[in-house]
Amino acid sequence: MRNIRSKLDWLLMPLVGFMIAVAVWEFVSVALCKELPSPAKTWSESRDYVLKPFEKRGEMDQGILRFTWYSLILVAKGYAIALAVGTPLGFMLGLSKTFTKIFDPIIQVLRPVSPLAWLPLGLVLFVGAGKQASELGALFTIAVCAMWPTVLNTAVGVRAIPQDYLNVARVLKLSRSKTFVKVLIPATLPYMFTGFRLSLGIAWLVIVAAEMLTGRPGVGGFLWQEYNALNYARIILCILTIGFVGFALDRLMGCAERCFKTA
């Protein structure tokens, strides 16, 4: 009996947590703040969106998973740009002391800038693109904000490569490109993946803000529209969706990270 219980713990314990959270939510909505939709109301308001998750009724009236899908595609694009720019940048920072001295201060200054500050600049940058401007601006924002963890972790990883591995490469007379592929990249991969994981988390944070400001269809855009439509129940639906998707993304990256752990 005891054994079975401990085996089910991983499922039961989080369920208990969720139930407590829902109870608190119910209590707050009934007793403290009448404006807050109760769990039951939230469900009834958002049932259409959850039960027909892929339906498209209008530009801003689509199933929740369809919105999520739009957001994910945008995140994937921006994230890909962030990795494509951030990884080489990280390698250069890790390999060259001079490069670090020159660019590290700039990176440290740009790193803490909020996505909300980048977005207007992104929109201005791509103002010539016409209809595409909002998408390109959002991509720019995601890429710029999500890049830093990848850059910094890759740089740390490159600096942390044990001298032994480099000695092996030297003794074997591996060419520069072969040293890079056979030694530098595999030795840095675990660090890189930690960076990738953090970057993905940030990219998902940024997408919501970007959609809210640009009004693009997506989870964030939907959230903002429902706020303007005074439909607070669906805001909660959006928050829950954003949370679950973020959680799933992080878990996925965690699995990928584990695959590349060496020694």
Binding site: N167, R170, V171, K173, K182, A187, L189, T262
Partner: protein
């Protein structure tokens, strides 16, 4: 001509002025097929020495040459087995060895390379672990992979940097036996660095003691004229073994003692200038200290 030649090599580290000399006046020549053990205290500069031979670092003065050609960088003609194995953890045993093979014999056919890698993995008895990664292996097994990798390059000379230092006594003995067998089979020239005189005597043809740091240098080398194959248990009772051992230990202990007596301190002179104390201080004249002799314009010299 000897295979490997070190001529008055010295090496130090640190910035100019505060340079700490590690090795001084190192002379050594190693013949083809010879097994030379270099025995010294830990921290005496043994790893520096083997890095010099490997070409990973260059000497400050003197030359290291292989077959008369000066060594200016690392290369696969000197296979090195590092103290801490230095296997690439993301590659399997087989991949670690075959990376070396691939690099050393680029003109070979894939079958030849495969055969070569497998042959050396077999030589160190790791066929069953060929597809495992280093993290799944014990220390002894890892060191065997490292030996196989070095040998698979078919180097002119095999450099072993305290290869069994991190292993337990039983594993060490097994690996020493295997190394003795492999060296006899392949007739490779070997330089073994160790801090264990017994290990040196058991394996080598010649032992060179390295005096204690700093400025370590070689003592008189000792030929080990014990017959091969050597019997580990029997060795301890041979008079010749005891003689060699005493000779080595005496030299090493004496070198460390003489080093300890040597005072290495830069003398810092006090920053004092002679003052004429007979002249009284007077704050009115704007002086807060007595007049220094060098400031006195007129000085009478008595003859």
């Amino acid at each position: 001509m000897s295979l490997l030649e070190l001529k008055s090599v010295s090496k130090g580290f640190g910035p100019p002025g505060a340079r700490a000399e590690v090795l001084r006046g190192i002379n050594l020549s190693i013949e083809e097929g010879e097994f030379v053990a270099i025995v010294g205290y830990s921290g005496a500069g043994k790893t520096t020495l083997i890095s010099l031979i490997a070409g990973l670092i260059l000497p400050d003065t003197g030359t290291v040459s292989l077959r008369g050609v000066e060594i200016v960088g690392p290369g696969p003609d000197r296979g090195i087995v590092f103290q801490n194995y230095s296997l690439l953890p993301w590659l399997t045993v087989f991949e670690n060895v075959s990376l070396a093979v691939e690099q050393c014999f680029p003109d070979w056919t894939p079958e030849q390379r495969l055969e070569q890698a497998e042959r050396y993995i077999r030589m160190v008895h790791l066929e069953s672990a060929a597809l495992k990664r280093p993290s799944e292996l014990s220390g002894g097994m890892r060191q065997r992979v490292s030996v196989a990798r070095a040998l698979a390059m078919e180097p002119e000379i095999l450099l072993l940097d305290e290869p069994f230092g991190a292993l337990d006594a039983l594993t060490r003995a097994t690996l020493q036996d295997e190394l003795a067998r492999i060296c006899q089979d392949t007739q490779t020239t070997v330089v073994l660095i160790t801090n264990d005189p017994d290990e040196g005597i058991y394996l080598a043809d010649r032992i060179v003691p390295l005096s204690a740091s700093p400025s370590a240098t070689f003592g008189p080398s000792v030929e080990i004229d014990l017959p091969r194959p050597r019997d580990r248990k029997g060795l301890n009772h041979l008079t010749r073994f005891k003689e060699i051992r005493r000779e080595l230990t005496d030299y090493l202990v004496a070198s460390s003692r003489s080093k300890r007596l040597e005072v290495r301190r830069t003398l810092v002179l006090p920053d004092i200038e002679p003052e004429d104390l007979s002249i009284p201080r007077s704050a009115i004249a704007g002086r807060t200290r007595p007049i220094r002799r060098s400031e006195i314009k007129r000085e009478t010299v008595e003859i």
